[in-house]
Amino acid sequence: MTLSREEITRRLNPTLTKPDEDRIVVTPLLDMNDQVGRVEIDLRLGSQFILFKEHFQGSLNPIELSESESYIESYQEEIVIPYRKKIVLHPGRFIVGSTLEYIALPRDIEAQVEGRSSWARLGLTVASATTVHPLYKGVVTLELCNNGTIPLELVPGVKIAQIIFRLVTPPLSDQQMEEIKCKYQYSIGPGFSKLYDDKNLKQFLAIDG
């Protein structure tokens, strides 16, 4: 069930709700009336980005990625674009960004992050890993790709994505809450890929034969 504006605003109210139980946090909401829609909240672009160092590397091998935490940093670098300045995303290029807003979800809510129609019509894809799990806390990472044919100027602070909240039934139990472990919890900017933390990949590689 998708949350309506009324339910979203009720859950945003810190005087009526409790963290982790039923409260949704989306902060800052620079313009509440403008950002909260009928079933969604518009999210703004943050000022940190991760780019590929295309000139220095050939291809990226996920198997090698799993061997070293710092390996990914030889492929990618982090940059900051201050407010009022822009980053130009050329056709076919991919960068990792994040929302300006910090999100915290309670145990009974999951969310989907999607692009906004206005940007999609210009060729911009905003998010490909779209699910935000219950109890996630942090900014939302955006995988930005220009699928169009003209370069796009992106300015930190611009409304770029939208988040839609859905009810999880039944909500996570206390035990599930204890067990929850998110690799990207408490992110304050776009983080580097943590494929190295993927245990299944290591187990698969360990198969003899």
């Binding site: 009526l16 900051v80 009022r84 915290a104 408490y186």
Partner: protein
């Protein structure tokens, strides 16, 4: 003649090389407004020096050679102040806070490979102005319009730019940012001491008191009666110079405490634990023991009106009590010093302590009047604390109408200290470290977000 040619070629080569270095700096990537301004100012000077090069005499070239090393040093500082090297998300808030201590002044916040916070205690605009701009025939011709040319050149630049440094390894440590307050305090302290110190010395008869002290402690027969006045005078001047340096350091502590409030004392307390609290060996450079500095910061904070950490939550270990235990052992009259050879130190400290109210009454009054002291809010600090406990970025408080009120840097840092003090009860070192690390990241983000919230209408990000 050969020497004249060589110095000319060599100086030109150096200026040309400096120009290239400066033009290669990524000035668009400086998060500090002060760094961009400093870059523009220094490049303008280099360009004029280069353009007027053929006019310079060998003597002028030699003079220019004495200034060029500073341009190299400043270039290095600016290069270090790039976004990736500094805590960029908090720079706008820090700049805003620091500018309140001195109007029309900008700062370049940059890292240093040292375990210390520092300031290049020289206003670079004033320095370059006094050395180059005011010297006739260097940047402007010696004409009746000389002064107008100079003023026109300075138009658009602030009256002050300072370089402030933090340890490179502490780039993201929100809790220790208040240590920068002491460094900014130096700007204020230097100005105040230059204007008031002689007057204070006379008003309080400090030189006479010191001379009497020396006289009464000179061993009999050590100096003949003919030379005694000269010896006393020389020693008194040395001690007064140290007295001035100590005053500057302590004043800087007071200003730092007034800028950041209680976190200034707490961060100094943590920093002091690395040292012997009763080490007086740095006294000739103006540094009294840490125990005394903590005592003095507490004393000054009480006078300014910051009597107790207002945000301490019931049941929490109050580090203030620990600091009180350290400073309680100071009874100035009986404070015994472990380091010998600084017999006058005790006397200087007695003087500073006894005359505190009179000596620095106008500073304390000035600091009390600063509006940024009033924004210290217990409820906001507790809101920060609560948000951190819940893993939420502590950038604002929200009322029942969902209106957000941004929390200022001072209260975010104070609330983060509350979290740290509370966390100290954890016995598990690993959890203590991890949860503090997360709280630190959330506070960094909070400072960035609260600044954008506060300035949103102006910036019109929509």
């Amino acid at each position: 003649m050969l020497e004249e040619k060589l110095i000319k070629y060599e100086t030109y080569r150096e200026i040309d090389s400096l120009e290239k270095q400066y033009l290669n700096l990524p000035y668009r990537d400086f998060p500090c407004k002060g760094a961009i301004t400093a870059w523009k100012f220094l490049v303008s000077i280099i360009v004029v020096l280069k353009n007027r090069f053929n006019n310079y005499s060998p003597k002028q070239l030699q003079f220019i050679q004495t200034i060029l090393p500073f341009f190299e040093i400043f270039c290095g500082y600016l290069n270090d102040s790039k976004t990736k090297n500094v805590p960029w998300s908090v720079i706008p808030s820090l700049e805003e806070l620091f500018s309140k201590i001195k109007a029309d002044t900008q700062f370049v916040i940059c890292p240093i490979w040292e375990a210390n916070y520092k300031i290049f205690n020289r206003n670079i605009i004033e320095y370059i102005d006094s050395k180059l701009l005011r010297t006739q025939g260097l940047l402007f011709d010696s004409t009746p319009n000389f002064d107008d040319d100079r003023k026109r050149f300075l138009e658009g630049f602030p009256s002050g730019i300072y370089f402030v440094f933090y340890p490179r390894t502490e780039k993201l440590n929100v809790l220790h940012f208040p240590l920068l307050g002491h460094e900014i305090g130096h700007i204020f302290a230097t100005g105040w001491i230059n204007s008031n110190f002689e007057y204070i010395l006379k008003k309080h008869h400090i030189k006479r008191k010191i001379e009497e002290h020396i006289d009464s402690h000179l061993p009999d027969g050590l100096v003949g009666p003919l030379f005694k006045p000269q010896v006393i005078n020389t020693q008194a001047l040395e001690i007064i110079d140290i007295y001035r340096k100590i005053s500057a350091e302590l004043l800087s502590d007071i200003v730092g405490a007034s800028i950041f409030g209680h976190p200034a004392l707490l961060s100094n307390y943590i920093f002091s634990l690395k040292f012997n609290l009763d080490d007086f060996r740095q006294v000739p450079h103006g540094y009294v023991s840490w125990r005394f500095r903590l005592y003095f910061i507490q004393k000054a904070m009480a006078r300014i009106g910051l009597k107790e950490f207002p945000g301490v939550i019931k049941g929490m270990t109050n580090w203030y009590d620990e600091i009180k235990k350290i400073t309680a052992s100071i009874e100035i009259k009986n404070y015994s010093f472990e380091v010998t050879g600084f017999g006058y130190v005790k006397y200087i400290i007695e003087l500073l302590d006894e005359e505190f109210e009179d000596l620095w009454a106008n500073i304390v009054t000035f600091l009390k009047d600063q509006k940024y002291i009033d924004i210290y809010s217990q409820s906001l600090q507790e809101a920060v604390f609560e948000r951190l406990i819940n893993g939420i970025v502590p950038n604002c408080v929200i009322n029942s109408e969902l209106a957000e009120k941004p929390i200022c840097l001072r209260n975010i840092v104070s609330g983060t200290w509350l979290y740290l003090m509370n966390n100290e009860q954890l016995n598990d070192h690993s959890n203590y470290f991890k949860s503090n690390y997360v709280a630190n990241l959330l506070s960094l983000k909070a400072i960035e977000l609260s600044y954008s919230q506060k300035n949103f209408k102006k910036d019109d990000l929509k």
